[in-house]
């Protein structure tokens, strides 16, 4: 099975090694990460003036940071959902028989796929109004909503390519068999082509989700109160102590790792599973 696409996530995956790296399991990562964070903070602790260890300070702030992180997840899930719906439509547009639809979808896809995510985020932030007027009803557009829109654009473009790549990767015989059984094009897509594509699309789609989740911290640059913004504020209100930097940002890294690593693991597992079947 070969994918005909230039999208890195759609390229054939190298078979994952049977043994995990150094025989490490998922849960081994946790203590390792913790040691990496706590280690430096203990070293700094001696120099701390007011008796409270950096780790203790981090514990005080942890609930707030966790809330910020959950906000990141909300942004990522929403942007993924929006981008997937938009990308599915755009991807089907790319295989339309109607040339203007096909070319238009291709252009939009390429445009948003080749734009830096941060720039798209800025565009969404500063070009969208802070509220819109619908029949006298004022619907506010808060920053976090604009961030979701801004991040959903590159997701949409990448999903569009995933859909197109998956459809193209099916043997043309599937189309011909369906055509010769007098299925309409819509029926062919819906009953025969797309169900077979879902399996192929799932791993790259989950990869994209991981990347998006990590990209949600970009929203801090445009002032959304997600985990990075809150971390910065917490550090500032602690007086900008340098010994706090490692534990605080280490904590944020750990949060993302604990969330994204299982997704990556699961993606690899899916890839392995479907590689055998197809």
């Amino acid at each position: 099975m070969t994918y005909r696409t230039d999208l890195p996530v759609m390229l054939p995956v190298k078979r994952p090694e049977a043994e995990p790296f150094l025989g490490l399991k998922l849960w081994h990562m946790l203590p390792i990460a913790l040691i990496a964070i706590i280690g430096p903070s203990l070293a700094f602790a001696q120099s701390s003036a007011d008796g409270q260890t950096p780790f203790g300070i981090l514990l005080n702030w942890a609930p707030l940071l966790l809330k910020g992180f959950i906000f990141n997840l909300v942004i990522s899930v929403s942007a993924m959902a929006l981008g997937t719906v938009g990308g599915a439509i755009l991807g089907l547009g790319q295989i339309s028989l109607f040339a203007p639809t096909r070319h238009g979808s291709w252009f939009v896809t390429q445009f948003f796929r080749n734009a830096p995510w941060l720039v798209l985020l800025f565009f969404a932030m500063f070009l969208l109004p802070f509220e819109i007027n619908v029949f006298g009803l004022k619907i506010p557009f808060p920053d976090w909503f604009k961030a979701i829109l801004g991040l959903s654009l590159p997701v949409m473009a990448n999903v569009s390519e995933i859909v197109r790549g998956a459809v193209r990767s099916l043997p043309s015989g599937q189309w011909e068999a369906a055509e010769s059984l007098a299925y309409t094009r819509l029926q062919t897509l819906w009953l025969i082509i797309l169900p077979q594509c879902v399996k192929r699309m799932l791993p790259p789609w989950m990869n994209l989700y991981s990347i998006l989740t990590m990209a949600t911290v970009l929203a801090s640059i445009v002032g959304v109160n997600e985990v990075m913004t809150l971390t910065g504020q917490a550090l500032a209100s602690e007086g900008g102590r340098p010994d706090l930097l490692a534990p605080f940002y280490g904590f944020v890294l750990l949060l993302f790792f604990v969330y994204c690593y299982p997704i990556a693991k699961f993606t690899v597992w899916l890839e392995k599973k479907y590689a055998v079947i197809t």
Binding site: P171, G173, E176, A177, E179, S180, L181, A182, P195, T278
Partner: protein, 248 residues
């Protein structure tokens, strides 16, 4: 013009087809009567597949006429779906839908395309699966079946649409030698039931046995044709003789 069963079921007249610059069919004419089994043979690349794919409009043609039960295929306003309900096709690579079981493969089109009642379609599908001698494999996925079994499911799938004519494009070419026989037997059964068949094949013994008429194509034209006995014993054209001497 009203078509009657006394007229050819499929009638090609001076069919021309090219892919860009490459001329693949250069004026092909042939008639297939109801209940006829015709075999098209010829060297690789001579346009056999292209020829039969034009009959159900998988390929379009540039010039000439193809009538299927009186309906002109070379017509920009052709209702392809109506045409394809009358013309079934079986492919070299089976092309079963891998995410559906054998039974679903067979009954899906009657339900979705012909809007048949589901229970009735299932009954018909089960009978067809029995007919191609695959009883017990109804719930198997294509990946769990041998090539010969998959090809017989594909034949059943095509039959389920109750076509008036079926196109077979080298349907045994991808099979292991030991499973070729079972598929040929299935086609033979069909022919005996009076199904109109247009076959592209390299199985000369089979062609000789089941065909009413043999056509030999080379470089997009029909070089020679006739009933099997005269065709195989008394080939006139040097190209036919050479081909037969290589393959027999």
């Amino acid at each position: 013009m009203n078509w009657t069963p006394a007229d050819p079921m499929v009638s090609l007249k001076d069919v021309h087809k090219s892919f860009g610059e490459l001329k693949v069919l250069n004026g092909v004419s042939l008639d297939v009567m109801k209940g006829d089994v015709i075999c098209i043979i010829g060297p690789s690349g001579s346009g056999k597949s292209t020829l039969i794919r034009c009959v159900n409009a998988l390929n379009d043609i540039q010039k000439g006429s193809i009538l299927v039960e009186g309906q002109e295929v070379n017509d920009p306003n052709l209702d392809k779906l109506e045409l394809r309900k009358k013309v079934g096709m079986v492919f070299q690579q089976y092309n079963l839908f891998p995410h559906k079981t054998a039974l679903q493969n067979v009954m899906m089109a009657p339900v979705r395309v012909l809007k048949q009642d589901k229970a009735k379609a299932e009954e018909t599908a089960r009978a067809l699966i029995r007919k191609v001698r695959l009883e017990g494999k109804e719930n198997a996925y294509p990946g769990e079946l041998s090539g010969g079994q998959q090809q017989r499911v594909a034949i059943a799938r095509s039959l389920a649409m109750q076509p008036d004519v079926i196109l077979f494009d080298e349907v045994t070419a991808a099979l292991d030698p030991e499973t070729v026989g079972e598929v040929l037997q299935t086609i033979k059964d069909l022919a005996e039931d009076g199904m109109t068949c247009i076959l592209v094949t390299h199985e000369m013994a089979f062609a000789r046995e089941v065909a009413d008429h043999i056509y030999f194509t080379d470089r997009g034209v029909i070089v020679e044709h006739g009933p099997p006995e005269t065709f195989f014993k008394n080939a006139q054209d040097p190209r036919t003789k050479e081909f037969l001497s290589q393959i027999l």
